[in-house]
């Protein structure tokens, strides 16, 4: 299973696009961008949400 897209280089506002944000810890305190922050940060906290539904019930194996 995969969340996000390793080849993505532009911003989209769909579920997959909104699932990745970068929080600039120690920055100016604005909203978390979907791209790497353009300002200097003490830490960059990348946040990935993996929420999904599947096609059918999983079978035991």
């Amino acid at each position: 299973m995969v969340a996000g897209d390793s080849l993505k280089r532009s911003e989209t506002d769909d579920f997959a696009g909104r699932a990745v944000t970068h929080k600039c810890v120690g920055g100016s305190g604005g909203p978390d961008p979907k791209h790497l922050p353009d300002e200097k940060c003490d830490q960059i906290r990348v946040q990935v949400t993996v929420r999904f539904s599947i096609t059918s019930m999983l079978s035991k194996h």
Partner: protein, 83 residues
């Protein structure tokens, strides 16, 4: 469980937000939501910026940050909830 492209057996919700909302009919079984936070300690590089853009590049060559992703390989099979 997996699909050929490793993606199409799972789907995001059809409405709501990326961390809430209803399942599409094609993917009716809601799994749990996973939220990952990864800290990169960038404080020590504040005096090493150059040019007019942020200087960091991820190991896959992504200098934008849009390509951040999660690869999930295994899952506890008993943890599923009917949507």
């Amino acid at each position: 469980m997996d699909s050929e492209d490793h993606k199409s057996h799972v789907a995001y919700p059809i409405d709501g937000n990326y961390d809430g909302g209803r399942c599409p009919k094609s993917h009716p079984v809601h799994l749990v939501t996973l939220f990952y936070e990864v800290y990169y300690d960038t404080k020590g590089f504040k005096d090493k910026w150059y040019g007019d853009r942020q200087p960091f590049v991820f190991a896959n060559g992504d200098a934008t940050g849009y390509g951040y992703h999660g690869d999930f390989v295994s899952f506890p099979l008993h943890l599923y909830i009917s949507c």
